[in-house]
Symmetry: C2
Subunit: 116 residues, 2 copies
């Protein structure tokens, strides 16, 4: 999650922040359904384990993309939400989504040609 070509590639740092495993589905889920609890995220991000979800949430919190709110109740309640910094990613994710919609078919086609 760190060595990605270093100095040579000017977007390596950004990629490490935004696209390490699981971060995008988590951000996406928070964006789609808004502020939610740990258990909600666990349910909505298919296949993730509590260990890994915790790791990624901590990373996102540390990077300032997600905010965590702890309510000292019984049982405890913790809520996560996207910060303004995290929300500033929306156009970028939009571009990514658009590029995929346009070009994933070409990629699939290239794969079939290569494999076949």
């Amino acid at each position: 999650m760190e060595i990605r070509g270093l100095e040579a590639c000017p977007i390596a740092d950004v990629i490490d922040v935004l696209f390490s495993r699981w971060t995008t589905p988590i951000l996406w889920g928070l964006h789609e359904r808004g502020r939610q609890r740990f258990g909600d995220l666990e349910r909505h991000v298919p296949g993730i384990s509590p260990k890994v979800l915790t790791q990624r949430l901590r990373q996102l919190e540390r990077d300032g993309l997600v905010a965590r709110t702890y309510h000292a109740e019984v049982p405890p309640r913790v809520e996560y939400e996207i910060t303004p910094l995290g929300a500033s990613l929306e156009p970028l994710f939009g571009s990514l989504s658009a590029w995929g919609a346009t070009n994933m078919p070409s990629i699939e086609k290239a794969r079939r040609a290569y494999d076949g």
Copy 2:
């Protein structure tokens, strides 16, 4: 390099194609310096081993982002270049770079606040 949240996140597939490890520095190098040989890439992507470089080039070739040309000479000469499909990534990488330039300082700051 495959499970990233699946159905729940619409850009998971694109991310797997574009941002698996080493792919961005390789694409960047090809974009910056144009068509070049295996050894050139090896030198310009710092820290990559020939094994991994081969793996990633094959993946990029399979996905249609990079084209490989083999010249049957002695010694053999192989050249790699970006395809039009690969070149279509430029605006996207530009946006990524711009987002990073604007926001990486905020991320660094958030990290210092979290760690300190």
